[in-house]
């Protein structure tokens, strides 16, 4: 009898464990299995809250990177490894608290803008990172997507994407796999707070 009860109890516990673990694994999948939302090409990006250094430049490239997203850190490292492009106003939008210790950005040649996650959607209509958005002189989005053709691939193609877009080529946006960084999206993609560091 005791054995039977014990068996049943263990079985129930195991069922709960399996359900919980399945849920945990499901949440961990989001972001690297399903492309995250990004602004649509051809729409206008809300950039009213930004204060670019050279607002007169005709083309702009926005790099939306999250301080808590490991994927974003890789892109940031890549950006810092190269110089900003000529005739292009490249802006790094750091999603996080502005007082975060980020020595990398202190001496960089890019225009850096800080935005809090809870303000991200309202200010830029952006929810995910790392996201590359290229605007033409009319502030129309010409490219909005990931940096690599495959998930977290080696080939970060931001330079090529920006150059070709500027040359008038319509480049299909790469699907965005990364982190949901806006407060609204994070509630869905990382309800347990496991993904963002």
């Amino acid at each position: 009898m005791i054995s039977c009860i014990r068996q049943t109890s263990v079985s129930i516990l195991l069922a709960i464990w399996a359900a919980v673990m399945a849920f945990v694994c499901a949440t961990l999948m989001i972001g690297h299995w399903i492309p995250l939302p990004a602004p649509q090409v051809g729409t206008r990006l809300q950039i009213g809250y930004i204060s670019p250094a050279n607002d007169s430049a005709s083309w702009k490239a926005f790099h939306f990177l999250s301080c808590e997203c490991r994927c974003s850190q890789r892109i940031l490292k890549h950006l810092l490894d190269r110089e900003p492009l000529q005739n292009m106003d490249e802006v790094i939008v750091c999603i996080g608290e502005s007082d975060q210790n980020c020595e990398l950005l202190s001496n960089c040649k890019y225009t850096v803008v800080w935005v809090k996650p809870e303000e991200l959607k309202s200010k830029y209509n952006v929810e995910s990172a790392p996201l590359l958005v290229v605007l033409d002189s009319d502030k129309i989005i010409q490219y909005s997507g990931a940096y690599t053709p495959r998930k977290q691939g080696f080939a970060i193609q931001d330079v090529s994407i920006i150059s070709r877009t500027r040359d008038g080529e319509s480049i299909p946006p790469f699907p965005l796999f990364g982190c949901g960084v806006s407060r609204e999206l994070r509630a869905f993609t990382d309800p347990l707070g496991l993904k963002n560091q």
Partner: protein, 691 residues
Amino acid sequence: MSFNRKKLVDFLVLPPLNTEKERSYLKRINTITLVLLTIHLPLFGCIAWLNETNALQSMILVVLALLGPYAAFLGLTSQRQISIVMGISTMFMGGILVHIGQGVAQSEMHFYFFAVIPLLVAYKNPLVIVAAVTTAVSYHVIMWTTLPSSIFANEAPLWLLGVHASFLLLQAIPISILARHFYDSTIQLEQRVALRTEEVELANYEIRELLDSVQQGFLKLDCFGRIGSKYSKAVVEMLGEIPASNLFMDLLSGHDKRAAEWFEIGLVEVFAGIMPLELTLKQLPKQIKSDSRFLSLEYAPIIEAGELKHIVVMVSDITALVEREKFEVQSRELMAIIDRIADDKVAFLKFFAEAESLVKRIKDRTTAVNDEIKRDIHTLKGNAACFGLVRIPNACHAIEDYINENNEIPQSNLWTELDQAWSSIRDKIRRLIADTEIKVTLGDDEYSSVLLAILNDVPKSQLVTRVAAWRLEPTRRRLEIIAERITALGGKLGKGVLNVVIEDHELRTDPKYWLSFWSTLIHVIRNAVDHGIETCDERLKQNKPENGTIYLSTSIEGTSYVISVKDDGRGIHWEHLRSSAQQAGLPYESDRDLKEALIHIGVSTKKSVTETSGRGVGMAAVRECCQSLGGSIEINSVSGEGTEFRFVFPVENMAHEMHAILTKYGIANANAITCCAPELIAHATQSTLSF
């Protein structure tokens, strides 16, 4: 459809029967898996650290994934259920790995699933695979169903989920089949083997029960005489424990060394396959004596694919049967003795005296083989058979066999047989015949006739011959006894119903004087029936009457008394006799030489020895007897027509003693007493005498 579902269920769900061996195996695999999963803890921590994900967080996740296996390991008793938990846990580990494996290798981390699922084959349980795959699919489905369609509607189509799941299924199906096949070919095979073993053991037990309960001994032998592992209990009871060598010959030798040697030689012939199997099996020993028991041995071949593989030996205790047969033989012998005594008491007493003398002589000579002992044994055998005895001839035959095979005096047991047989018969005979005096019995007619002759003053010479004739015996009586023997022998030897023609010419002889000759004459009779007369088929082929005829006659030819035994058989095979004589170192050039050789000891015209004849001893005994009575032997034989043995004696020897007495008293016609019943004196026959 329901059939297919049943098949699917039968395929996925293993049979409930699981053996200790399976449990042990699964426990081992589960333990190994638990260890490997536990190793994930530091391993994933390292991977997370290298990928700058979050080592602590990843280790916490691994601990969560390990909770299930540890709980199952500690809480569940069914190793199969624990296996399923292990399978599920591996998929959770995969989910964690993909998460912590951030960076360029994140996609490659998915290979974990495709590497782990085949490893689960080790559980030999399709349900483990199914549970693992279902787990992986489940959190994909959970993820897809929980995402808000408002955000991901265009980016998370159902087909993507299907593609993702299909790869897992594609792998899971063959892996499940493999697992089931693995189970069927190992664990289930072991279970089947165990089941079969159990059945075989049960069958063995039943066979053992059967073998232990039968009274016959059964054992199986291979070509080397090795005893098989299964044999009945009765074998041990009758023959003793199986020897260490496991050889049947060794088992037999503990009881009968000769039979063991015989068996060893015979077994080689059985398996050699040169001679017909039935024949070689018949040549194996059929009976042995073990202490006071008689055991019969029967043999049956086991033939596989036309090849003799083994022989089965059936041992039966036939002591009771042998004793009964002995008793029956003794009863038959007793009846035969009574018959013989009733027929001819004088002759029987003579045989008895002579046989006792022969037995004594044989026993005194049991030191070396010589012609005398051979002749005595053969004569005793023939005479005893002639008087309806069985055990004496058998014992003599066995001794003769031994002497001929080994050329030495046999072991004491053969003598014991003869001694016991003779003692038994002697006691019976002595009880039957208390008074051994020979009496003369007169019939009424004869008494009246002689009385009248005396009253009428018939001359003394006539009366004397009449009275003297009372002690003489008509030869017809002897010939009739021999005729009976011929008829019996003919039937026994398959020669059909032999005709016997008797011509006694109303002769009479002194029974005491001639008894030894009549006894010895049986050898001639046996030769005539056994060698001379052909089988019915042979005779028909030669246009002869189907049944042979033997002519027995006594006659007076001039001054000779002639006893003749003639048959219409095949005649003597002179060439074979010549060859036998040559081999025996005897003269063989002339007909006379051959006739001498025929009756010489050791020369037989027959190629094989039978119980009846063929040793070449009988004729020598006849000649010796014939010579002792002052006679000689004449042999006439024509190939294909028959053989005649003529024994020629002086006529006065017919009633040797009486003739001497009458002659001494001046009775002129002393020979007349042997010719016929003397005619009554003419005038005496004119009167009658009334009582």
